[in-house]
Amino acid sequence: MATLLEVRDLTAGYGGGPPVLHGVSLAVEEGGVTALLGANGAGKTTTLRAVCGMIPATAGEIRFAGERIDGQPTEAIARRGIAHVPDGRGTFAELTVEENLRLGAITRRDRAAVAEDFERVFGLFPRLRERRRQQAGTLSGGEQQMLAIARALLLRPRLLLLDEPSFGLAPLMVQEIFRILAHVRAEAGVAVLLVEQNAALALDLADHACLLETGRVVLQGEAAALRRDAAVRRAYLGY
């Protein structure tokens, strides 16, 4: 399978301060799922932000479908088909659920396909259809997460970046979301780069996994292998 996202030797930091990432390299296959694991402060969110152009890369390369995207503005990267669901959800709290969803599709020209996608998304998240006229800020945490994912899907992205989708959610809600993610991955063939602290769930979904520690990749390989290796699990993933 072709490599969709390739990150090579990425060094990046915030606002001219010391780098948070030191030579990180990883890849996401076309239609595949790569899990990015690690403790707090390991640099997982920073990696996603660098891919999106939210912070500048001071060294290294980021390629999407073969073309370099490091140095491009975030909105240009989004238009190429990379949808980022940031930590904190990034929903437009003052706007309605429907407006939030419309924003996901706002740069698309293919009206008919957009309407289809709306139906699909409401099918996946029926609760959003119920609350479509409600102000997004009044939704519960789980519903906001669903809204954020739905909005990202409405971009019809080739790559989905998810930053800790399980954060702050009740276990049942988390199961639901991961079930939906598995479904989306199977149906739509969207590639996913998933940042998660819940390693077990992430490894269940992923093909490949990458473990970060203080800004460096310490372990990389097939998710299934990592899941099976008890020593690795206990040492690095805590279960």
């Binding site: 939210m54 975030t74 909105e75 989004a78 990034g90 437009f92 706007l95 419309r102 924003l103 706002i106």
Partner: protein, 290 residues
């Protein structure tokens, strides 16, 4: 009673103008968290452009439309050329640039068109008594125009994709970028729109206060008062505040303080709002996140 009703109606007419300028101010404030102190002078300059067009023989409505478009372009240009580089500059520097803009527009208006007070024609003047003599032709026409502009703007923001994109860019620029919105251009459009609204407001007020380079200073002050009263982060509130302030100004001017202290009245309103209810009647409470 007749006098009161007339003052009320006149207040609504001027209120419409304050509401328009207040809307322009709040639009820019929401998107950039800065108040455009040059809004009044830009509007004055635009009004002079309209005057020049009329003097040159253009029909009034063509002049109005042309001026709105020209002001739109000027607004976009100012944002792209001046404001964009100042994006990360300290607040003081940005305020300084606004003041510089204000001085610039005020001065070149006087330079190009002269400082003598000029009458400005209104297409609404009619000798026929309207609504039983309650309102003048211009007052009615001006109210209709400002209400129409406000309605158009409202419809634009509520029901068009571009309007939605602009709102998103103002509320949450980071998330807006994540869905592919070119936030910089949305800001420029916002500036253009605000400039165009200001131009219409200027053309509506000029027949009443007569055309001279400083004519919008008082209007600007009342627009500030209206925006604060309604809630500076709430466009609908700012519009309501503008109308309210227009009515208060007229009634207080006749029954309380006389016409010489109108500007002081605006100051009193502003200080009063800040003392009693800083977030305005319809705004969200001012909370600073630690």
């Amino acid at each position: 009673m007749e006098g009161f009703a007339h003052q009320l109606v006149a207040g609504i007419a001027t209120g419409g103008i304050y509401a328009s300028v207040a809307l322009a101010l709040v639009m820019i404030y929401q998107a950039t968290h800065h108040v455009n102190f040059a809004q009044g002078e830009m509007a004055t300059f635009s009004t002079y452009l309209a005057w020049a067009a009329v003097q040159a023989g253009a029909p009034w409505w063509v002049a109005l439309l042309g001026t709105a478009l020209a002001s739109f372009a000027i607004g976009v240009a100012i944002e792209r050329v001046l404001m964009r580089p100042m994006r990360d500059a300290p607040v003081l520097a940005v305020v300084g640039v606004f003041i510089g803009l204000m001085l610039f527009f005020n001065s070149i208006t006087g330079w190009i068109f002269g400082y003598t007070v000029k009458p400005f024609p209104s297409p609404f003047e009619t000798s026929a008594p309207l609504l039983g003599g309650l309102v003048s032709g211009h007052e009615l026409g001006s109210t209709a125009v400002t209400l129409a502009v406000l309605a158009l703007v409202w419809a634009f923001f509520r029901h068009t994709s571009l309007g939605l994109a602009m709102r998103a860019a103002a509320f949450n620029p980071v998330s807006a970028r994540l869905v592919g919105i070119r936030v910089g251009w949305m800001l420029a459009l916002g500036w253009g729109l605000a400039a165009a609204i200001g131009a219409v407001a200027g053309v509506m007020v000029a027949p009443v206060v007569f055309l001279e380079p400083n004519m919008m200073l008082g209007v600007l002050l009342y627009a500030f008062a209206g925006a604060l009263l309604g809630g500076i982060d709430n466009p609908a509130g700012a519009v309501a505040g503008g109308f309210l302030v227009g009515v208060i100004e007229n009634l207080a001017g006749v029954y309380l303080v006389g016409t010489e202290l109108k500007l002081t009245l605006a100051l009193v309103i502003i200080v009063g709002v800040l003392l009693l209810r800083p977030s305005g009647l319809f705004g969200r409470p001012v909370v600073s996140r630690v």
